[in-house]
Amino acid sequence: MSMPASESQIVEWRAAVLASPAVDEADADELEAHLREQITDLEAAGLSNDEAFLIAVRRLGQVDRVTAEFAREHSDRLWKQLTLVRPEVEGPHPILTMLGFAALAAVLTQAAWLAANPMSGGGGWYIRDLSLLVLTPLAAYFAVLRRMPVPRVLMLAVVVVVLALAVNLFPFAPGSSTSILVAIHLPVALWCVVGVAYVGGDVPSSSKRMDFIRFTGEWAIYYAMIALGGGVLLGLTMLVLTPIVPAAVGGVSQWMLTLGAAGAVVVAAWLVEAKKSVIENIAPVLTLIFTPLFAAMLVVSSVAYLIAGVGHDFNRDLLTVFDLLLLVVLSLVVYSISARESTRSGRAMDGIRLVAVVAALLLDALVLASMFVRVGEFGFTPNRVAALGLNIILLVNLAVAAWLIVRQLGGRIPGMRLERWQTGYLPVFAVWVMLMVLALPPVFRFE
């Protein structure tokens, strides 16, 4: 046991170690235990308390060098706690850059609205092109922020132009299901482009892909929060304006909604980047709450389906519902990995997650089996191909994920394998949505 003389010094030293965001409380405990034991040993060898403290601290190494080593091992913690390291010292102010791209997204969207005039029935293209108008500026924002090399920017630009030309030049039949499928898949395809820009073109890096997955979750949450705030602003504006200029209310609210909703896409992205320092990630916390609830729901549904059978009232739309369900389960898996203190995550939680995944797989297998029978009866339609393809992609992903979780619970493989599997699977989704946008409509003759 050390004497009180070094006690305050130990407290100071601990604070210095903890000043690094890469070192958490548990690490500080571990290092402090080491320091105290060393002091005790040195005192036993006849050193004074002060001397023992000095030598023990010296042996542990310079605080900044040790914490730098921690940072190398725990770079994920930096994502959570450190303000973004900004290599751009000169150049435009980051907030101005962000505002510029947000304004671009907003102006493009509003201009398209005015051109399409959807209120008077025209411009089905407006809905379809909406994602192009807001996500292209977002991708450009990240390309600028990450200082992407020009050749890579050009490659991304080519992809965007091809997508834009394709969806606008395809001769869709009016009200065709392929045009609706394109409208659904185009935002996801463009989100992949945003992802490439987000990682600065360093696509092969598994950890950067994981960062993008984290970003996606946080972005969605920020966007929802901004939308809530925007809704309050919009509602109050209408209430305040209605008594004096009732005629203008409709126009004002349309402008506010379009400009706000489009600009918020970039603002939310900037917030996620800038506020990494302020908050814990929210997506993993939500995952923690909803995993047990979904597990219970899925188990009950599986049992019900097993007893009742899928046969009777089978509806084609059911497969889309199950696609959504599998997507949610996949999110629960992915965002549980993205919680950084993975080494400490409870085995109980892994068990619950496994139950959720297995129940979802079972349910989906039941639905798929009856779906295959139906496809045999009615043949393929664009909707069926889209729903079935996505379903199979998700099924494969979750089946392997379940297997990895089982082996992880058995202690045979580290948790990192599951993360690698998920980040490695991202290109499958990317290729699939690109096929849905570019290949599906011609194959089905734009019906």
Partner: protein, 134 residues
């Protein structure tokens, strides 16, 4: 892994290369904790292997992440919180693999020492070889 200075001390890069097999070997013997691992390292190397103590912990965390060792919080005999580590099966396999590599490396070098430095004995050659590079 950092190393202190000193004439007989082993070169910094070599210490870094030895760190993983050393720690794995110690933890394959028995579960242990940071301070005791370092004491064991000093004992095994008769004080010739100098570590910057703090650097051990990021290494332990890395090995844990890779699944070579697992950690558990326990208590010291005095009741203080203490984190114990122990090698996993994957860690033992990794240790065997490292051993194979080291044996190959020493065998390859062993043939060279006598050619390059014929006067010295094998033990002295190793020590001088490492020292001379500084």
């Amino acid at each position: 892994m950092g190393a202190g200075g000193g004439a007989v001390n082993i070169d910094k890069d070599l210490v870094a290369a030895m760190a993983t097999p050393l720690v794995l070997a110690i933890l394959a013997e028995d579960a242990s904790y940071g301070y005791a691992i370092l004491k064991r390292v000093r004992e095994l190397s008769e004080g010739e292997l100098e570590w910057t103590d703090g650097m051990l912990y990021p290494l332990l965390h890395r090995l844990e992440r890779l699944g070579y060792i697992r950690a558990e919080w326990g208590a010291s005999p005095e009741g203080r919180r203490r984190k114990y580590y122990e090698a996993t099966n994957a860690g033992r396999a990794q240790l065997a693999e490292q051993r194979r590599q080291w044996v190959t490396a020493t065998r390859a070098l062993g043939g060279l020492w006598d050619l390059a430095l014929p006067a010295a004995g094998p033990g002295a050659a190793v020590a001088r070889g490492a020292g001379a590079s500084a």
